[in-house]
């Protein structure tokens, strides 16, 4: 059957900002869908508020709306674009939810938009737990017993019937937000209350616990001729009870006999048919009782998911791309397998390797939350590793995580403490298992505590046993090959032997023990593979087959984490595209399965490998690239600059020495002095006494941070000796090896981010971004505007001059980012990063110039003049970037912003007017700005004067003002009518009652100091959980109110990015 010709224009909805539970995998799927649909000649209209995605690049869709993904906005897009069809299955839960709202409000019908991929009935049947339960009953499949409730009373009755432990699952939330396991009544009450709050429909499922059962997933695809195939089976190492996104997972399933597997396969096929997903991919989760094989269905996602991205990378079968083609009418047998080129997509991939996915957590950023893993996802990223055995893949996965672990390092716990660690799933349980095995605990005991299948435990035991062999051997050489086949890193072997890593590497080289590379080919070598998608292993035959072409190797960013996410993958993908454009072979190295960079058709060659020195050197040995590009993947590859250079690897672009000059404190200071530029007074302390002395010397407040971590980790602003002492006692242990850096905090300053590009001679500014929040909040967490909205032209010119001077002095070749603070027109240089920054995709989208591509090209020696980018673009519209935070996922965590980065993603708002652009950025980030109602204001004394104009504007806009006693008194003194509301400590009815009762429309609350932060915590936290817009900085509040004003003055308009680039966005609909 050919593709459908009754549709020409297709609307695709993206997933918006990166949040926990919805990350890069939807850029991967959306990008594949855009490519596939355009390839088939359809006009693609895309909406996605996330500028850091590849799919929102102007070339990927015909009309790209970087606008908030809300029903109202999408309706406007539908009205303007008149698409024939809507593909809702590529943008995660966000896209499905918006689609369902557009359907129920009649918008789709009104505009004659048909759904392709999955229809409303199918989505409803899969997403609505009751409908799903009925559907499963119809086809004779079992689910855990469960009862659906809408109130606390109903929940109690359900608990009485089901007993403890029981699982609480709120309906319609992302990544299982609000999901929990209750072991007793007290926990149950608390979780139910929270769950009812976070569910948009205030609905929960109370479910029989299948804790400790084995967990599996199948990725299923179906076409319109009802052909169904299973793309991949996945077995979770962590049994039921831990969200699959937080579990270590393995592909294919390892511990099922064919008889058991076929029961599951039959069930998955019956489910996709019963739910009625006509075309595309779905994910079905199962639990299997470890002692009798009883199988229950857990859930089904009628769309591509994180697991489909993983399955695609694990098998080489591009699920999203195929799903898009099926949606427009192709059948599986009509689509060719890209990898084999001769066989069709209507088959089931087979693996001849083992895949391990490992979740990446950032609990260290959220000190107040505990790291127990539950049914609500908490990980922010993941890495995948491929090996010929589970042991090899597991050890490769560990070193892909970049958590400074290179194998099963020991843990100090013993006895009951250790047992408790095995019993309670947490981020590093795997290492505790290793420790228990090292201590001689038996597999059965570990199994009883953890319920992790003995097969996994046995394999870990084999690794641990080999450790002692390694430790005890007289001669390492005889064990080296076996160690490598078991996946031991050189670094871990070196640790065990107490020798430098280099010694192990040299021994390996002299023994001829080197990595071989094998192909991921979907078919276990039954057919020849034409796509060089490779992984390393220690086997007899190497299939890498490097070419003799001019080639550049790009080192990717590894697992997503806070501070290093999709923005860097975007840059790497652009580098790859750019290099191919100018005739280079591009070789990608990365281990993040969610990303576009790890698609086999993004680069000429793909190595799915950890980004450690050892693994990268092995690829370089085989490929011998003409250059290595490591300035695009964030800190991960950047850390390899010096060691790689020492190994004689040709690094292109800005030299590692220049990178060091910018990063090394002393060298950087000298550089600034040489150029006559200012930085805040600062010092380096190796003890508390020294720190106190320096702080008094430069004057409080002081920004303090350890020297050895980046991305704002453990960074804080201290206001007095007491704060500093507390910080030094808790956050860091200063020593001469690990000094603490202190900078004078530039108060009430405006922070500026500049992205620029240089070819070594010419420097061109990409964009100057003015932060909304004051300096002191991590640049990744503050909103910013391009162009700047308040700075004087002469200040901007001086910033330009300084940027050019810095680029010239550092001999930057490629991209660079500089952060400045401007205080009373005085400019301080905060940071210089001669590499791709987090803001590159945002700036590129804003100005319509692919900076990362240009950067990659100049790194190969091209000149900016040749590339036609010789002067800074000025744009007649405003682009506002806003950060998105994971606070909701972490109960007990305060929402205040600080120098430590906490956001997981970003959105972009574009408009001709700044206020409207800002309003869009807020809406895109999930802050639905109110246009009327009660505004609650409670600010610290120093902010009272500053917040006054904002409050006055709110009054003008018709808002009622509610304030705490002190703030209210101040406002009244200044002629603003403010109603007093109690602080929580003052007793009910207090402000939190107002928030939970939804009487308050917005919250402006700036913290006063440590004690008051505790006091106002419940205000911010309840605003968060009740989705009441809240602002914790005066600047943020000011611009939000300006945004409300803009919205009141004129309805928000929409315009595709292509129009902004072409006409400046003047021809608005």
């Amino acid at each position: 059957m050919p593709k459908r010709d009754d549709i020409q224009k297709i609307l695709l909805i993206g997933s918006g900002p990166i949040v926990i539970g919805q990350a890069c995998e939807f850029d991967y799927s959306g990008t594949q869908a855009c490519k596939a649909l355009k390839e088939e000649g359809y006009t693609v209209v895309l909406v996605n508020s996330n500028p850091a995605t590849i799919m929102t690049d102007p070339d990927f869709a015909d009309r790209t709306y970087i606008e908030p993904i809300t029903p109202a906005v999408v309706e406007k897009i539908i009205a303007a674009e008149r698409p024939d069809a809507l593909l809702p299955t590529m943008g995660g839960q966000t896209a499905l939810n918006v689609t369902m709202e557009l359907e129920s409000s009649g918008v789709l019908k009104r505009h004659g938009v048909r759904l392709i991929g999955a229809d409303v009935a199918a989505i409803h049947k899969a997403e609505d737990r009751e409908a799903f339960r009925e559907a499963m009953q119809r086809i004779g499949l079992a689910l855990p017993r469960s009862i659906y409730v809408k109130s606390r009373q109903e929940a109690r009755a359900a608990a009485a019937e089901i007993g403890f432990p029981s699982i609480i699952r709120p309906s319609f939330t992302l990544g299982g937000t609000g999901g929990n396991v209750a072991f007793n009544e007290e926990q149950f009450e608390a979780y139910v209350e929270w769950g009812l709050d976070v569910s948009p429909v205030h609905q929960l499922l109370i479910e029989e616990s299948v804790l400790g059962w084995k967990e599996f997933e199948l990725e299923v695809m179906r076409d319109r001729k009802d052909n169904v195939v299973i793309i991949c089976s996945i077995e979770n190492l962590d049994p039921m009870g831990v969200h699959t996104g937080d579990s270590i997972t393995v592909a294919p399933a390892q511990t099922l006999t064919d008889k058991e597997y076929q029961i599951m396969r039959d069930a998955a096929i019956a489910i996709i048919r019963e739910i009625g997903v006509d075309t595309g991919g779905s994910n079905v989760q199962f639990a299997v009782h470890p002692e009798d094989g009883r199988l229950v269905v857990i859930e089904m996602n009628p769309r591509v998911s994180r697991s489909s991205a993983l399955a695609s990378k694990a098998t080489g079968f591009p699920i999203a791309k195929i799903a898009a083609k099926l949606a427009v009418g192709y059948t599986l047998d009509e689509i060719t397998n890209d990898i084999t080129k001769e066989t069709p997509a209507s088959f089931e991939p087979v693996l001849d390797y083992c895949v391990v996915k490992f979740p990446r957590f950032t609990f260290e950023k959220f000190a107040q939350t505990d790291d127990t893993l539950t049914t609500q996802m908490k990980s922010v990223g993941e890495a995948m590793a491929i090996g010929r055995t589970f042991k090899e893949a597991l050890q490769k996965a560990i070193r892909s995580m970049e958590i400074d672990s290179h194998g099963f390092e020991s843990r100090p716990h013993t006895g009951e403490a250790l047992r408790e660690k095995l019993r309670t799933p947490c981020a590093d349980r795997l290492w505790y298992i290793g420790q228990a095995l090292r201590d001689g605990m038996g597999l059965d005991e570990i199994y009883e505590l953890s319920k992790i299948d003995r097969w996994f435990l046995f394999n870990i035991q084999e690794i641990i046993r080999f450790e002692s062999a390694l430790r005890e051997a007289h001669e390492l050489t005889v064990l080296l090959r076996e160690a490598k086949t078991l996946g031991f890193s050189d670094r871990r072997i070196a640790e065990i032997r107490g020798v430098p890593e280099r010694t192990v590497r040299e021994m390996r080289r002299s023994e001829g023990i080197q990595a071989t590379f094998k192909t991921v080919d979907t078919c276990a070598a039954e057919f020849e593979a034409y796509t060089p998608y490779l992984y390393s292993t220690y086997e007899s035959e190497c299939e890498a087959g490097p070419t003799m072409r001019r080639k550049v190797m790009i080192l990717g960013g590894g697992p997503n984490r806070i501070g290093q996410g999709i923005e860097f993958d975007y840059c790497c993908v652009h580098a790859s595209f750019a290099l191919q454009e100018i005739g280079y072979e591009s070789i990608m190295v990365n281990c993040n399965p969610e990303t576009v960079s790890t698609d086999y058709d993004t680069s000429d060659r793909l190595y799915f490998e950890p980004l450690t020195l050892e693994d990268v050197l092995e690829i370089i040995r085989v490929e011998k690239p003409d250059g290595v590009l490591l300035q695009y993947g964030g800190q991960t590859p950047l850390k390899l600059a010096v060691p790689l250079e020492q190994e004689g690897v040709p690094i292109i672009g800005t030299s590692p020495d220049a990178i060091d000059r910018a990063e090394d404190r002393e060298r950087f200071q000298k550089l600034l002095r040489k150029l006559g530029l200012k930085q805040p007074d600062n010092g380096t302390a190796t003890s508390l006494a020294e720190a106190l002395e320096i702080a008094r010397d430069i004057g409080y407040p002081v920004v303090v941070r350890p020297s050895y971590v980046l991305g704002g980790r453990a960074m804080s602003i201290v206001f007095n000796d007491g704060d500093l002492e507390a910080y030094m006692a808790s956050a860091v242990r200063a020593s001469s090896e690990h000094p603490v850096l202190l900078d004078r905090f530039v108060m009430n300053a405006t922070e500026i981010d500049v992205d620029a590009i240089s070819d070594g001679t010419d420097v061109v500014i990409g964009g100057i971004m003015e932060h909304i929040e004051e300096a002191g909040i991590h640049s990744g967490d503050s909103a910013c505007s391009l162009p700047p909205y308040s700075l004087k032209p002469q200040v901007l010119d001086e910033i330009r001059r300084q940027t050019v001077a810095l680029a010239g002095e550092l001999q930057v070749v490629g991209l660079m980012n500089i952060q400045y603070a401007v205080q009373d027109d005085e400019i301080f240089v905060l940071e210089v990063n001669p590499r791709a920054s987090r803001t590159v995709p945002f700036v590129s989208k804003a100005i319509g110039v692919p900076l990362a591509k240009l950067g990659a090209k100049v790194m190969t020696g091209m000149r900016l003049a040749e590339l036609g980018f010789t002067e800074e673009r000025s744009i007649p519209y405003f682009c506002v970037k806003e950060a998105v935070f994971p606070f909701l996922k972490f109960p007990g965590v305060d929402t205040l912003l600080s120098p430590e980065m906490k956001s997981t993603g970003e959105v972009m708002g574009i408009d001709r007017r700044f206020g409207s652009a800002f309003a869009k950025s807020q809406i895109g980030a999930g802050t639905l700005l109110p246009t009327s109602g009660k505004a609650f204001v409670s600010v610290r004394d120093t902010d009272k004067q500053r917040v006054l104009p904002t409050v006055r504007k709110l009054v003008d806009l018709g808002f009622e003002i509610v304030a705490t006693r002190g703030t209210a008194a101040f406002l009244r003194e200044h002629g603003v009518a403010a109603q007093v509301v109690n602080k929580v400590l003052e007793g009910p009815p207090h402000i939190v009652d107002g928030i939970t009762g939804r009487e308050i429309a917005m919250v402006i609350n700036t913290p006063t100091g440590l004690a008051a932060e505790q006091d106002s915590f419940s205000i911010r936290r309840s605003a968060l959980t009740y989705f009441i817009p809240y602002f914790t900085t005066v600047a943020g509040a000011r611009e939000a109110v300006n945004g409300i004003e803009a919205m009141a003055a004129e309805e928000l308009k929409i315009c595709p990015i292509q129009e902004y680039h072409r006409t400046g966005g003047e021809t608005k609909s």
């Binding site: 001729k225 009802d226 052909n227 195939v229 299973i230 294919p252 399933a253 390892q254 511990t255 099922l256 006999t257 064919d258 008889k259 058991e260 597997y261 076929q262 029961i263 396969r265 039959d266 470890p290 002692e291 009798d292 094989g293 009883r294 199988l295 059948t331 599986l332 047998d333 001769e342 066989t343 069709p344 209507s346 088959f347 089931e348 991939p349 087979v350 693996l351 001849d352 390797y353 083992c354 010929r388 055995t389 589970f390 597999l443 299948d453 003995r454 097969w455 046995f458 084999e462 094998k518 078919c523 276990a524 070598a525 039954e526 057919f527 020849e528 086997e539 007899s540 035959e541 299939e543």
Partner: protein, 378 residues
């Protein structure tokens, strides 16, 4: 203990012994199934073959009393990357290594099975010798070269039953095991060319009273059972030398409904005038896409064969032979039927075990055919 695998073309693979020690020979082939190694080992169609599993981790769930397709393993040898040191499954009895040892099957592990698979893919299936004894590689290669080729050998004689017997067991169910055969509506005689038990179980489950007979059973003896239908089983090797079976089938054509699977399909093809040929490395796995040319629907099938019916020979054999199924990977013949006689067959394994259950409808089709024939014979 060390072990080595030597191929007739001179390629050597070294590894560690697995299972029984000693030396074995056979045609080296690869199977891409990721599960179901015990069913594969006990499939009589592997008589004379050394099986390489492309999935590297084999033995994870051990072996058990249930997951067998015949009374014992038939494979000549077994090649894996890593045999699991633990059997982790609630039904497991013995580890893979113990199971092989108990049944005297010589195996090898630690082999770069992907390199071996690529070699077989590029150079073709060929004779090989697998030894755990310290024999020098050149000698092993010479022994492999001295072995007779698969083509031209009648392996059916080595695996068929000696006496007819009644099949009493039906399909497997979780928590129930194999269920006893229920009330029978049809009498089926099944030729045992190396039959897999799951075929018999499904037939029994579909209401057939199955009598299994040796491959050499005469047409008259079959008809004397007054069957409603005749089933032709799978089996090992080359169909061409199994002339006695082809002759018997010619006598039976049109007398009773006939359904053939795998070797049975090839023998039926030969009886109907088609010809067969040897594939380069065959189809052995559970992910082969087959299209039913009538419905245009795709089934994911379980396959295990080294020979196939020549597509051109179908037309040459006369216009009454219809190609019903093709393999979408390489367009080979996967099924045929006779336009006038109640006869059909498939190259693949609708009984799977191991493998997907997509093609079970073929058994229903056989039952329907028997029903129709009973109402209006001929």
């Amino acid at each position: 203990m060390k072990a080595a695998l030597a191929l007739a073309d001179g390629r050597i693979f070294e590894g560690k012994a697995l299972g029984a020690s000693g030396e074995t020979g056979g045609e080296i082939i690869f199977n891409t199934s990721m599960m179901g190694y015990q069913e594969i080992l006990t499939d009589p169609s592997y008589q004379g073959q050394i099986i390489t599993m492309t999935y590297p981790l084999i033995g994870n769930y051990g072996t058990n009393r249930e997951d067998v397709e015949s009374a014992r393993p038939y494979a000549s040898g077994f090649v894996v990357k890593e045999a699991s040191g633990i059997s982790s499954n609630w039904r497991a009895d013995y580890s893979l290594g113990d199971y092989l040892r108990r049944h005297g099957i010589v195996g090898i592990q630690g082999v770069d099975t992907r390199a071996l698979t690529r070699h077989i893919r590029d150079r073709g299936a060929q004779q090989a010798v697998l030894s755990t004894e310290s024999v020098d590689p050149a000698t092993l290669v010479a022994r492999a070269q001295a072995r007779p080729a698969m083509a031209g050998q009648d392996l059916v004689r080595e695996v068929t039953c000696t006496e007819p017997y009644r099949w009493e067991e039906s399909e497997w169910e979780l928590g129930q095991g194999y269920r006893p055969a229920g009330a029978a509506r049809f009498r089926v005689v099944a030729f045992d060319y190396g039959v897999k038990r799951n075929i018999l179980r499904i037939l029994a489950g579909a209401g057939c009273r199955v009598t299994v007979v040796p491959a050499t059973t005469s047409a008259a003896a079959v008809l004397a059972e007054a069957p409603d239908g005749i089933f032709l089983s799978n089996g090992p090797g080359d169909p061409e030398p199994v002339t006695y079976a082809v002759e018997t089938l010619r006598e039976l054509l049109g007398r009773k409904p006939i359904f053939g699977i795998c070797l049975g399909h090839q023998l039926l093809g030969l009886a109907l005038g088609a010809s067969t040929y040897k594939l380069k490395f065959g189809h052995h796995g559970g992910n082969q896409p087959v299209m039913d040319l009538k419905t245009r629907k795709v089934e994911i099938t379980s396959q295990n064969h080294g020979f196939a019916i020549h597509p051109d020979s179908l037309a040459a054999a006369g216009s009454d032979l219809e190609l019903t199924h093709i393999n979408l990977n390489d367009r080979t013949v996967e099924g045929l039927r006779h336009r006038t006689l109640p006869v059909f067959s498939v190259q693949y394994h609708p009984e799977s075990s191991p493998g997907p259950h997509d093609s079970r409808y073929l058994f229903d089709r056989f039952v329907e055919m028997m029903e129709a024939f009973r109402e209006s014979p001929g």
